[in-house]
Amino acid sequence: MEQLTWTGTLGPVLNPLIMAAAAVFALGVVAQFLLSLVPSGNVRVGSMLAQNKGPADYAGMAVKYSFGVILLAIIAFMVGGILLPGPEAKGIIGAMSARLLPVWVGMIVIFAASIMYKRKLGLYGKLFDSPIGMVGFALVLFWVLTALFADMIVTHDPLSQIAAMKNKVPGTPMPADTEGYGWYLLGGDNLARDVFSRMIAGSTIVMQIAPLATLFAFMVGITLGLPAGYYGGALDTFLSFLANLILAFPVILLFYLLVTPEIVETGLPSYMAAVLFLFPIVFLVVLFNSRYYVQPAKQRLFVGGTILIGGYLYLSMISQPGTPLHFFPDGLDLFNIPGGILIVFVSVVFVNSPTVFRIVRGLALDIQTRDYVAAAQTRGEGPWYIMLWEILPNARGPLIVDFCLRIGYTTILLGTLGFFGLGLPPESPDWGSTINDGRKLLSIYPHPAIAPALALMSLVLGLNLLADGLREESLKD
């Protein structure tokens, strides 16, 4: 077995093409930038003002076409990777693309279906009218699907070490006598583990924690922010003071104070989890109760159901062996979250909720002056009905946008935790820990750190673009 090249058999044909296109692209961008500083020449044609095609326009065309060529060549590598036989012919990019086949299929199916029915899909459908939103959605969808299909994609076990592969460059073949996939596609790290598989496995961890933690932070922020904005007064002053208190903490100091093993020993994160996880249940109970208090049958069904199911999940979630809160008998306990993940989850929720609180409070302050709130008050609706069924639905636009941005921010926070080696076990394949592992040998073997760094960046970028697209589309009507 031979060392893989990056581009395989297609390389000699397409590489020069890409190089040329990239050069044209770079020149075009610079030219365009410089020319845009000078106003373009307008020409009078009779009584009309016509615009000649100036040098800026030609530069623009060059940029557009060269970018198209680069894009097509990259797609050719990926399709070629799936079609060509054998990893030597595929090259590293092609082989990775072949491993990611389930993701490509999923993306194509979802995109085709969404574009076909986009007029019926509300805000989500409108996303497919904005190119920025589509790019962002594609990036996010890529990582969501990668996290889902991670078990099919990985080439090796993310924790297994093969001594001969220590710090090997991307595309190195495995020693002859080993079984399984024959190459380390993105090389080996300093403990001789497969960088590609660790990056893919890391996406699962991020996708497990980041969206859910953001959702919990939103529940906390909404449950506290709505009354603070709606009632105002002493409650508002007190809650705002608390929120500012948490926000004034440098995040890293807070993490160091909450996540060290000594603090975990005192059970503080478990108590915080017990408090924070209560909020979603409170939120749902109040939500249903305020809506259905005039329909006792439905009220009983929804409120009772929430308390029963939510309460059971809550109890089995906070009851963890090895912490002070271990009261649930093992037979009844549905699941145990691994200790590290729970602590990371709690601290990320804790850091995020005050910002959400401030946003929700601001929105509630603004919306409660509207006429429909006054109308509801005149109708004699209760305060919680007004907050949750009048104010909250009308604040959804900014909240959805912020939700996307905040998942990205949470991803960054998770990476920060990993970077300082806090919370998750050191061998965990999450992106932050992997970057932390790789940074010690960065100037000699950068590949173990670069792969997760680019992965994290692309996910956060996708979320930011998605939020931008959503904001643009939600402002249009």
Partner: protein, 348 residues
């Protein structure tokens, strides 16, 4: 205005007290004290020895009393040993107990003693802070002008190609946290893989002698992450100003576009970014911690990590006081500055 500042000042003081108490509480939990005793004594201490060590050094008093001592409003702890000698927090070696002051807390200017660096906390923090100040200065010198230029250029003509290019750049820069951009920058400019080696991958030597070669990468890494956000805010503010009536009037009068931007728009467009830049400081502080760890630059952020990692209680408290102070003062300045810069608020 005076009352406003006074009230903000009061809230600030209260916040600082609450925050330091939280830090104090968390660092003084028993498992942390046990670890401290074992690192100070030896790792094979029995539980009884740990207790007696903590007893002798006054760590077993009620939390509030200890906090008062640290603050300097409660007479500090003294312990009489079996041989009759007296030891305590305020009694430095070589001074007799009678001469030593009764109060020695932050209010008296005594920040305590660092168990990791074996030095006076006040001295450590001030030297480290000056190093970080140097870093921050260059970060601001790079970040603020660059961000403002990018934002103003992008906001001049909304929707133009220039706007789209620069906006994409700002989005990418906000999506790249320091530990990602730092890794990428080191790989490209300082590793043997690309062979460029234009800069150094560590900034340890920059502490004494900062040169372009060893200091540019850390500065750029911090500046990049903060830049995108400020640029986007500047752009938003600029596009808003550019659609205002007085700009249209100026254009219809026939004022040159460059003059409109420089003389009419810029001044009003820069009010909002000022607040944003000020509120960006707490984030910069985070960036400083990450970058100083990544580039091994032994400044304030690096010290904070060392103190937190080794539960060096007094150093950690001093660090958090500084951090909280920075956050609160920048908030105060941004509020006052906003009022001062905005004529609509200033005159009413």
């Amino acid at each position: 205005m005076g009352l406003f500042i006074l009230r903000r000042f009061g809230v600030m003081l209260l916040t600082a007290l609450c925050l330091t108490f939280v830090v104090f509480f968390l660092t003084n939990l028993y498992p942390n004290l046990e670890k401290l005793a074992k690192t100070q004594g030896n790792f094979r201490m029995t539980d009884a020895e740990v207790t007696s060590y903590l007893e002798k050094n006054g760590y077993l008093q009620p939390m509030v009393v200890k906090y008062g001592e640290w603050l300097g409003v409660v007479p500090s702890f003294r312990h009489t040993n079996e041989d009759g000698s007296v030891q305590g927090r305020c009694i430095s070696p070589g001074v007799s107990p009678e001469d030593a002051p009764r109060f020695c807390g932050v209010l008296q200017g005594d920040w305590g003693f660092s168990t990791v660096f074996k030095d006076d906390v006040g001295a450590i923090v001030s030297t480290r802070l000056s190093l970080t100040g140097k870093l921050m200065f260059w970060v601001l010198m790079l970040m603020v002008p660059a961000a403002l230029i990018v934002g103003v250029l992008a906001g001049m003509k909304e929707g133009s190609k220039l706007d789209r290019t620069l906006s994409t750049f700002s989005i990418i820069s906000t999506a790249t946290p320091e530990y990602v951009s730092g890794v990428i920058l080191i790989t490209v400019f300082a590793s043997s893989v690309t062979g460029l080696k234009w800069f150094k991958g560590t900034a340890t030597s920059a502490a004494e002698n900062a040169t372009f070669e060893n200091f540019f990468l850390p500065v750029l890494t911090i500046a990049l992450y903060g830049m995108g956000y400020i640029a986007r805010m500047t752009r938003a503010s600029m596009t808003e100003v550019m659609t205002a009536q007085y700009i249209r009037t100026a254009r219809l009068k026939g004022v040159a576009f460059s003059n409109i931007v420089m003389k009419h728009a810029l001044r009003n467009a820069l009010i909002a970014p000022f607040t944003v830049i000020m509120l960006q400081f707490p984030w910069l502080l985070n960036g400083v911690v990450i970058v100083e760890t990544l580039f091994n630059y032994k400044g304030f952020g690096w010290t904070l990590v060392q103190a937190a990692g080794n539960n060096d209680i007094e150093l950690l408290l001093a660090c958090s006081v500084v951090a909280v102070f920075v956050v609160l003062v920048t908030q105060l300045i941004s509020d006052i500055g906003y009022v001062f810069l905005n004529p609509r608020i200033r005159i009413s």
